[in-house]
């Protein structure tokens, strides 16, 4: 089963990706996996008809109880067979429906296949969550298929409408299913069915029914289905008549046997079903667009299906089972015929269809047979279903007569619109004196419809063929095998009488149609949920604009002020509420005082000066003082890194700030400054108190001690900090490298975007226009290799002595900086043949590979091996996989520096236009 679903998914995705060139052949390709699915399911029918269930299980997220559980029993095999079978027919039909040069055939075909796959997965899923996922997948594919002509706003609106309603219903269903899972403790559908709870809560029942009603377009949620007719006809024939709208009914069929007695289940099912059946039928009679007539007819038929599957008796479900198959066959056929008429005559409006003459004879016969089945005429599958339905409702212990009358009324309307469809499409136009002639359809075009109808005819004449599968579909009721006998003739009785009353009544209604206009108009006036939907959407729009207007002022300082004051006040509140004890730690020594005084003085300087360069220089002094603090704190690695970073960032600051105006004009207003100071003060006070409170608590040093203890035996290194970075916390470091890579790419993109056409390459041929100073040049030439070698030494010795990839890479960056100072960006480009992004990317790749390669050898991430090598100059070096990882860090950091020069380095003074 999984293989089938994967095949459908794969073919669908491939068609979307590269089906453009195939033209209509894309649909032939798409038909293939559906045919495979059909054959496979058919081959399992023997087993399933005996009441067995085909199962498959794959573990997914075990702790959450999520698994891929698939099952194929009677009812799911029935729907799956319909999905795959009608799918093949629709794909064949689509090859004729679309032109070879239509632009989206690949996409359409791929989406149809993906839909087919989701729908099959839905029928096969044995887990309520999987069921939900597939349910929404069909919603999404349906949305994309309806919105195929997305340049048309009406089509977009229709697609969105369908998406919103069915997805909302799906969410409601998920809620209901969650309640059920919580009550029963199982998400497996089979165990739910075999071990049902005594009753379901009213909330669960209502929510699940909401899902079913929205999907199956039941009143008052039906409004999306007529809109969905904006889709190309093959899509309507497949999704919106035969398959997707049956998903709701399928849900009812699954749950009715165990839930029909719970809470408001029956009331809701009957209310929704009857109103859909009647109002849908009434509205179908008023449509001039034949496709819309069929759409409302579908709403009506789905109402009947909802009742039959929903009330939860085996007899009614049997009737529903027959109707499900019959409806899929005749409705898909009729949609295909509307599509043929529409395409060949250019209209599907009853008032405009031109006479369809001899060439249409075959299509007309197929349409007539389908209409007969839809109307429930004897010797058709529709008749069998109606007879069974009357019988089942008649036997009902409650509300029998009333419901029976409703059913008969619905059937009468169905007969009436069936007659009307046939009459308006084929008979009426011939009576008009029109010279317009329709192009005859090719046989191939009509063949899929004919094929579906012949299946329907066979099923209608010999319904007994379905006996075993039908009884297998009723296992949910625990009735056992062999209980169902479908027959063409059920003898004389009330059902037969009702059938004939409905047929006669329907014909009368169809004939008297113009006189019945007032009654029909009533059907259209019934509040239909569409208004509510519209107002809801409008309300959401209005509210969100209001909220946006209030919350989103568009001013960065305002946002920053809100965020920062929250960051200050929340912890402060917590400290106050918790009455955290403030224990004064020691004041601090004189050495510390000196460093901190410099630190603070430069920080204040950076804050108050009004010149950009001065502020940046103050910031670097702060950074260097930080390095001093690191030194007295026993952190030489940090000190080294800080010095390197500070040097490089000063260079980058200079590169950018030289472009900007020297000072900050427009000093801020006193009020603004006061607010800023208040927030800054609040943040500072919170941090101060927090630091004092935090220092009063005992530290758990277990992790630190473990790092120290296992540094040599596990990490093969003596520098604990470096071992932690490249080994114990290596995965974390890998994440940080990706941040560096992303930031660097972003910087280059921001600085270079829009300059592609500028003559950036031109100047790289010429020597830099700036005059070069000989002594700087010489100094750079001497210093460059020395600093580079130094950086390599730091890299390789870092595992045992202060150093490592970060500081090594930064120092290598400093070497590059020296060259930049001597000769500008040209010099940098000339020295390093590798492009900056190559260095950057290979660094990340190297680290990622080192981290993950142990995985392929069956070890854990970053599991290091080690060996010692004695190299000239560099001395005894431990070559372990950690060193390779560190080499990746080195290159990534070096790449970052190169990228900074690439972004801000000298280029001709070109500007964006």
């Amino acid at each position: 089963m999984v293989f089938l679903l994967l095949l459908l998914g794969f073919v669908g995705a491939a068609l979307i990706a590269c089906g453009r060139r195939l033209g209509t052949r894309a649909f032939a390709v798409g038909a293939f996996p559906m045919a495979v699915a059909f054959v496979w399911i058919a081959s399992r029918l023997g087993t399933i008809s005996n009441g067995a269930t085909v199962r498959q299980h794959f573990t997914w997220v075990e702790p959450l109880g999520l698994g891929i559980d698939l099952r194929l029993d009677g009812i799911s095999a029935t729907l799956a067979l319909v999905v795959a079978g009608v799918g093949v027919a629709v794909m064949a039909y689509a090859t004729c429906y679309f032109d070879d040069d239509a632009p989206d055939t690949g996409r359409l075909s791929g989406l149809l296949v993906l839909f087919g796959g989701s729908m099959l997965a839905l029928t096969m899923s044995d887990n309520v969550f999987l069921l939900y996922v597939c349910w929404e997948l069909t919603t999404v594919t349906s949305y994309l298929l309806i919105g195929n002509k997305h340049t048309n706003p009406r089509v977009r609106a229709a697609a969105l409408h369908a998406l919103l309603i069915t997805a909302a219903g799906g969410l409601a269903m998920l809620g209901g299913l969650l309640l059920v899972v919580q009550d029963t403790g199982t998400a497996r559908i089979t165990s739910l069915l075999s071990n049902p709870p005594n009753s379901f809560s009213a909330a669960a029942v209502t929510l699940i029914l909401l899902g079913a009603f929205t999907k199956s377009a039941q009143y008052p949620f039906h409004s999306w289905l007529p809109g969905a007719m904006a889709a190309p006809t093959p899509v309507s024939a497949y999704l919106h008549s035969a398959t997707m709208v049956k998903a709701g009914v399928y849900l009812l069929a699954l749950f009715a046997p165990i839930a029909h007695g719970s809470g408001p289940w029956r009331v809701l099912v009957v209310a929704a079903g009857v109103s859909s059946m009647i109002f849908g039928g009434l509205r179908a009679l008023r449509q001039q667009d034949m496709k819309l007539l069929l759409a409302f007819g579908t709403v009506s038929q789905l109402g009947l299906l909802t009742i039959l599957f929903g009330i939860g008796t085996p007899a009614a479900a049997t009737a529903g089972w027959v109707l499900l198959i019959a409806h899929a066959l005749f409705k898909a056929t009729l949609f295909m015929i509307v599509g043929i008429v529409d395409l060949r005559t250019g209209t599907r409006d009853a008032r405009k269809i031109p006479p369809l003459r001899e060439g249409w004879r075959g299509v007309e016969v197929v349409a007539a047979l389908a209409c007969l089945s839809m109307a429930g005429a004897p010797l058709t599958a529709g008749f069998v279903a109606k007879e069974l339905a009357y019988g089942a409702i008649h036997d009902l212990a409650w509300g029998g007569p009333l419901l029976l009358a409703a059913l008969a009324a619905g059937a009468t309307l169905t007969v009436a619109y069936s007659v009307r469809f046939y009459w308006c499409t084929f008979v009426e136009p011939r009576r008009r004196s029109s010279t317009e002639a329709a192009t005859d359809p090719t046989r191939l075009f009509a063949a899929p419809a004919a094929a579906l109808t012949s299946v329907a005819v066979i099923f209608g004449l010999a319904p007994g063929l379905g006996d075993r599968l039908a009884s297998a579909s009723l296992t949910g009721f625990g009735t056992g095998q062999g209980g169902v006998h479908l027959a063409v003739w059920h003898g004389f009785g009330l059902p037969l009488l009702l059938s004939f009353v409905a047929i006669a009544g329907g014909i009368v209604v169809a004939v008297l149609l113009p006189g019945l206009e007032p009654v029909l108009a009533f059907g259209s006036r019934v509040p239909n949920g569409g208004e509510v939907f519209l107002n809801l959407i409008r309300g959401v729009g209005r509210t969100s604009t209001k909220v946006t207007a209030t919350v989103q002022s568009g001013s960065l300082p305002v946002y920053a002020a809100i965020i920062l004051s929250t960051a200050a006040l929340l912890p402060a509140g917590a400290l106050l509420v918790g009455r955290a004890p403030v224990v004064l730690p020691p004041i601090g020594g004189p050495g510390e005082a000196a460093v901190l005084a410099l630190l603070l003085a430069s920080a204040i300087g950076a804050t108050i000066v009004h010149r950009r360069f001065a502020a940046a220089l103050f910031l670097s002094v702060t950074g260097y003082s930080m390095a001093g603090l690191f030194v007295i704190s026993g952190a030489p690695d940090l000190a080294l890194t800080q010095v390197a970073v500070e040097t490089l960032s000063t260079v980058v600051f200079v590169l950018v700030l030289r472009r900007l105006p020297k000072g900050f004009e427009q000093p801020s207003s006193p009020r603004r400054r006061a607010v800023g100071l208040a927030i800054a003060g609040a943040v500072a006070a919170t941090v101060f108190v927090f630091a004092l409170v935090a220092s009063g608590f005992e530290h758990d040093t277990a992790v630190s001690d473990q790092i120290v203890d296992s540094s040599v035996p596990v990490g093969h290194g003596h520098n604990v900090v470096n071992v932690a970075i490249v080994d114990f916390r290596g995965f974390d470091t890998l994440g940080e490298l990706s941040v560096i890579v992303a930031a660097s790419i972003g910087a280059v993109a921001l600085a270079r975007a829009g300059r592609r056409n500028a003559p950036a390459r031109q100047e790289s041929g010429h020597p830099s226009s700036a005059p070069r100073l000989a002594f700087v040049d010489v100094a750079a030439r001497v210093a460059f290799p020395v600093v580079l070698l130094m950086s390599l030494w730091l890299l390789f010795s870092g595992h045992d002595r202060p150093g490592g990839g970060f500081v090594g890479g930064l120092l290598a960056g400093a070497a590059i900086t020296i060259r930049y100072i001597a000769g500008g960006i040209d010099e940098v480009r000339r020295r390093s043949r590798l492009r900056p992004w190559t260095v950057l990317g290979s660094g990340l790749l190297l680290s990622a590979a080192t981290a993950t390669i142990p995985l392929t050898l069956g070890k854990s991430v970053l599991d290091v091996g080690s060996t010692h090598v004695d190299l000239p100059v560099l001395g005894d070096i431990a070559i372990s996989s950690a060193v390779v990882f560190d080499l990746g860090v080195y290159f990534a950091v070096l790449g970052m520096v190169l990228m900074a020069f690439e972004a801000f380095g000298d280029t001709p003074q070109e500007r964006l236009s």
């Binding site: 209030t550 568009g554 020691p586 510390e592 900050f664 790092i707």
Partner: protein, 134 residues
């Protein structure tokens, strides 16, 4: 942790916050730098002080806590990356407007002041189409 260190961290945070509230990107970037320094002071002073955690020299019992050091080290380098990215923003701003001032978002301003936006939402094309569909 000492009182002086706590005060330093607090002051760095305060100065950084004040700068973050400005409109010039270069001041914001400098503010972020100060804020990061403050965070690193907190990090590093949260651990035990001592000798450099390099095995072979002093006794491991005297070691400074290596864990916050490892955290701070990556933080320093990341800050460099972030600073570069923000400077690129300032650079871009200069390319487009000759300055690095962060302007108010015009579209956002319009939403709060202009009734026409409200009407625009009301008369959204999809809504009109829906009305006709239903």
């Amino acid at each position: 942790m000492t009182v002086m260190l706590a005060a330093t961290a607090a002051l760095l945070f305060g100065a950084g916050t004040y700068l973050l509230l400005q409109r010039k990107l270069s001041r914001i970037i400098i503010g972020l730098g100060l804020l990061t320094h403050g965070a690193n002071v907190l990090l590093i002073s949260a651990g035990r002080r001592g000798t450099p955690p390099i095995i072979g020299g002093s006794s491991t019992a005297d070691f400074a806590d290596p864990l916050p050091q490892a955290l701070a080290l990556t933080a320093i380098v990341i800050t460099f990356g972030v600073t570069t990215l923000l400077l690129a923003l300032a650079y871009r701003s200069w390319l487009l407007t000759d300055d690095d001032e962060v302007q108010d978002d015009v579209a956002d301003r319009r939403v709060s002041t202009d009734d026409a936006v409200q009407d625009e939402v009301e008369d959204h094309q999809e809504l009109i189409e829906w009305e006709e569909l239903l």
